[in-house]
């Protein structure tokens, strides 16, 4: 793991879970599995602080533990989960779009707690949505989220009498991952009076024994990160197919992805095979059957092979969306777009040429790309200096004389995706740093604005018929120059925020490609 990722992880943890948690995590990121005492000693923290930090991290599934030599408990960090904190706002927003406000708040609660009881989540959301009468609607939203796998059930603590283990053992049936408990009114009520869901897992063992009668107890839920990733992945595939082949093809691919949404595991190579008839049936805007078939045929002839013919024995044939090819195609397009932006279109031609022909000498590059020698050399050297292309020396004679050596250029998309991903992470850190810096610089004005808002709220509440003049007077506590800098501050924050959000798309595309590689 690169130090860039560590830095970003540190920033994210500090922002969301405080400095001590960030310090503990960053120590673990640098040193791998470590026991509690050693962390406290080396990171110069109190034992209790470390314990609390670890509890917090474990509850949010950001840290994990195991037992070494049957007696030492060691801890480590789940870096993927830490980095996915970046995506939390996106998770929340997506769910809002798909299932509405109640679902949005449920996911927000789940992210805030790490793991949460269904009853707790429903109760908290009900408190925050006073307009929704009763928890029926919220409960339905919760169930929707589970049925579409955006929420998943946490493994349960295995009850063992022998006390032989020093850490709790968790078990889970795969079939139970999305099985809902039946909530009795009683369990909902009980939750209303007792809100002890913040206890970390390790401590939960005891309470389990005390109240075994409540069905909801011990059944915790968390946000299913990979399901969200799958959703984002599907969206980016549809977007790029639409971009290249137009809306009808985009809709066809969207339909295919949706049909196999819940049945295809997150790391599968392709979706399940789907017949053209089934695709035609699930299109929102009906197309003639033979058009659907023709689109599918054209899609499957594309060299990126996002859609593939699985079996053409039946009428119309069976098609799949090849997720691995899609990931590669999107990552490649991302790398190429970066090369184009940074080095210009002729450099990009050279780059793609190297992609297509694998290994070329400079002279061949000039000839194929039809770029004058001096210029081509410039591009190659610039990209070589920044690690975008690779040069290999292949000596024809044992003396390695330059005149008798081939210098072969090539590119490696996998390596570049990695490099680019790290660059994105660093950029993310930069944007966050700048944002924090802005807030620090404008602290005085921001505080003042907050005070004025508070006063306004109070005036509105106590003097419902305060006249214009009074309100204006309050407004004028802020000078016009202060107001300008406030507007400017907000503009800058928006800009940083938008950029960071957009950056997530790139991070996402590159990350899923690298994951697809490692899972194969």
């Amino acid at each position: 793991m690169s130090s860039r990722e560590c830095l970003l992880a540190y920033e994210l943890l500090q922002e969301h879970y405080g400095k001590i948690a960030a310090d503990v995590a960053s120590f673990l990121l640098q040193n791998g599995w470590q026991p509690l005492r050693y962390i406290a000693l080396k990171a110069n923290l109190k034992l209790d602080q470390v314990r609390k930090a670890l509890c917090l991290l474990i509850q949010h599934k950001l840290a994990k533990f195991h037992v070494r030599k049957r007696k030492i408990v060691e801890y480590a960090i789940n870096i993927e989960n830490v980095l996915s904190i970046l995506f939390h706002p996106k998770f929340i927003y997506t769910v809002k779009l798909l299932y509405g406000d109640a679902a949005e708040l449920i996911v927000e609660e789940a992210l805030q707690h790490g793991i949460i009881l269904m009853s707790t989540a429903i109760k908290n959301v009900a408190d925050r949505l006073p307009d929704e009468n009763g928890s029926g609607k919220i409960e339905k939203a919760f169930k929707d989220l589970v049925q579409t796998h955006f929420l998943q059930r946490e493994p349960e603590v295995e009850k063992n009498e022998e006390e032989e283990y020093i850490v709790p053992i968790f078990t889970q049936n795969e079939a139970d991952l999305y099985r809902l408990p039946t909530l009795s009114e009683e369990s909902l009520k009980r939750k209303r009076s007792d809100d002890g869901s913040d206890e970390p897992k390790a401590k939960r063992l005891k309470s389990e024994h005390e109240t075994p009668s409540v069905k909801d107890d011990g059944v915790y839920w968390s946000v299913n990160i990979s399901r969200f990733q799958q959703y984002f992945r599907d969206q980016s595939i549809v977007a790029s197919v639409t971009q290249r082949f137009g809306t009808p093809c985009g809709e066809i691919v969207r339909a295919m992805l949706r049909i196999s949404e819940v049945t295809t595991p997150a790391n599968a190579q392709s979706t399940q095979p789907i017949s053209s008839a089934e695709i035609a049936r699930s299109l929102p805007q009906k197309l003639p059957m033979e058009h659907v078939e023709q689109h599918l045929k054209l899609l499957s002839n594309d060299e990126d092979q996002i859609v593939q013919l699985f079996d053409d024995s039946g009428s119309g044939g069976l098609y799949v969306v090849n997720l691995k090819n899609s990931a590669l195609a999107l990552a490649t397009a991302t790398v190429l777009s970066y090369v184009q932006q940074r080095y210009g279109s002729k450099a990009c031609r050279i780059f793609r040429l190297l992609m297509l022909k694998k290994h070329l000498e400079q002279k061949q590059v000039e000839e194929f790309a039809m770029i004058p020698p001096k210029e081509a050399k410039g591009y190659l050297y610039h990209m070589l200096a920044e690690n975008m292309v690779i040069m290999q020396e292949v000596p024809r004679t044992p003396d390695h004389a330059p005149a008798r050596t081939f210098y072969l250029y090539s590119v490696n998309i996998q390596r570049l995706s990695r490099i680019l991903l790290v660059k994105c992470y660093k950029t993310c850190t930069n944007l966050m740093t700048r944002h924090n810096h802005l807030i620090k610089t404008n602290k005085r004005i921001l505080d003042k604005e907050e005070r004025i808002t508070a006063i306004k709220v109070r005036v509105n509440a106590t003097l419902p018929d305060a006249d214009e003049a009074q309100l204006e007077e309050i407004e004028e506590m802020m000078t016009s120059s202060e107001r300008t800098s406030l507007t400017k501050h907000q503009h800058c924050c928006n800009k940083l925020h938008t950029a960071q959000n957009q950056l997530l798309n790139t991070i996402f595309v590159l990350d899923s490609y690298l994951n697809a590689l490692s899972s194969a």
Binding site: H291, S337, M370, K423
Partner: protein, 311 residues
């Protein structure tokens, strides 16, 4: 010998270009060309100029006059007939033959010397002599920078020597290539758009009519009149290939009659227009690696960010 030298010096430029033109015409018509067609082909000159030029070419042994079915025809004289040229001695003949055998690919001085075993000064003298008599010519070769190769005067240099359509005087015309690259793309793009406008077409038909052959592209380019040289379909394919490397064009091969196949081209849209990463100032930053939070170059004091946040 002296006499011809003097003559050459006395030549004005008009007859010279006329001579070259006539030779080129005869080269293009190896079976010979009638006086009539010759006359109309070089209509820009008067009779006297034409007659002088032809006579000179005949005396120099470059042309021969034959009786054809429909009157007299001029034909290019086969080079081996050089023996008959007056004032050429044996050494010159030897050098001539070496150059002749090199064909339109030409031959370097060094190789001539190696083959004829003469002194460099001698070879140079002979070459100069033959050159001034317009029996041979020197052509700059693109293959070996700045080196000249020799070939018979009336030959069209091979592509490997001139570099083909993309070179003028041994210089690669990269602007010309880029203009063609853009125009070819424009044509294919237009073709796609037109196909998409035809809403009655099926997806397969739309796709099929988005493709164009290199001949079609060539026709478009020729009509534009942007090329001074005549381009071949192969030249256009070289350009279309650069578009493939640009990722803007795709190619497919379709079978045509009697087992042969044909390449067709179509404009291709990218999967991702611009990566979102490129929207941040850091993605294009020259000091990206040096930048550290809290460092000398840092996001806190970054001017690129200032500028970018402005608008």
């Amino acid at each position: 010998k002296m006499q011809t030298d003097v003559e050459v010096k006395q030549e004005a430029t008009i007859p010279l270009t006329l001579e070259t033109e006539i030779l080129a015409l005869c080269n293009d018509n190896p079976k010979g060309i009638s006086d009539k067609s010759l006359e109309s082909a070089v209509a820009g000159y008067d009779v006297k100029q034409r007659v002088t030029a032809i006579n000179r070419l005949l005396t120099m042994g470059k042309l021969e006059l034959l009786k054809g079915s429909s009157g007299l025809i001029y034909r290019i004289k086969t080079p081996s007939a050089v023996g008959s040229i007056s004032g050429v001695d044996n050494q010159e003949k030897l050098v001539y033959q070496i150059i002749e055998s090199a064909g339109n690919k030409g031959i370097w001085t060094r190789e001539i010397r190696y083959k004829c075993n003469l002194m460099l000064t001698e070879v140079n003298k002979i070459l100069k002599n033959l050159e001034s008599k317009k029996i041979i010519k020197a052509v700059k070769s693109v293959a070996a920078a700045k080196r000249k190769v020799y070939m018979l005067y009336n030959l069209q240099p091979d592509r490997s020597v001139t570099g083909g359509a993309w070179y003028s005087d041994q210089d690669f015309e990269s602007e010309f290539v880029e203009v063609l690259n853009q125009q070819c793309f424009k044509f294919l793009q237009q073709k796609c758009e037109n196909a998409e406008k035809e809403t009655t077409l099926s997806p397969t038909a739309t796709n099929a009519s988005s493709f164009a052959s290199s001949e079609e592209v060539l026709e478009f380019i020729s009509k534009l009149g942007i090329s001074k040289v005549t381009l071949s379909p192969e030249d256009i394919e070289t350009i279309l290939n650069t578009l493939i490397y640009d990722g803007k064009v795709q190619q497919t091969v379709v079978p045509v009659a009697n087992g042969e196949s044909k390449k067709l081209f179509k404009a291709l849209k990218p999967l991702i227009e611009t990566t979102d990463f490129a929207r941040t100032p850091c993605s294009l930053c020259p000091v990206f690696n040096e930048c550290q939070p809290g460092g000398e170059i840092s996001p806190e004091n970054c001017l690129y960010m200032d500028e970018w946040m402005e608008y």
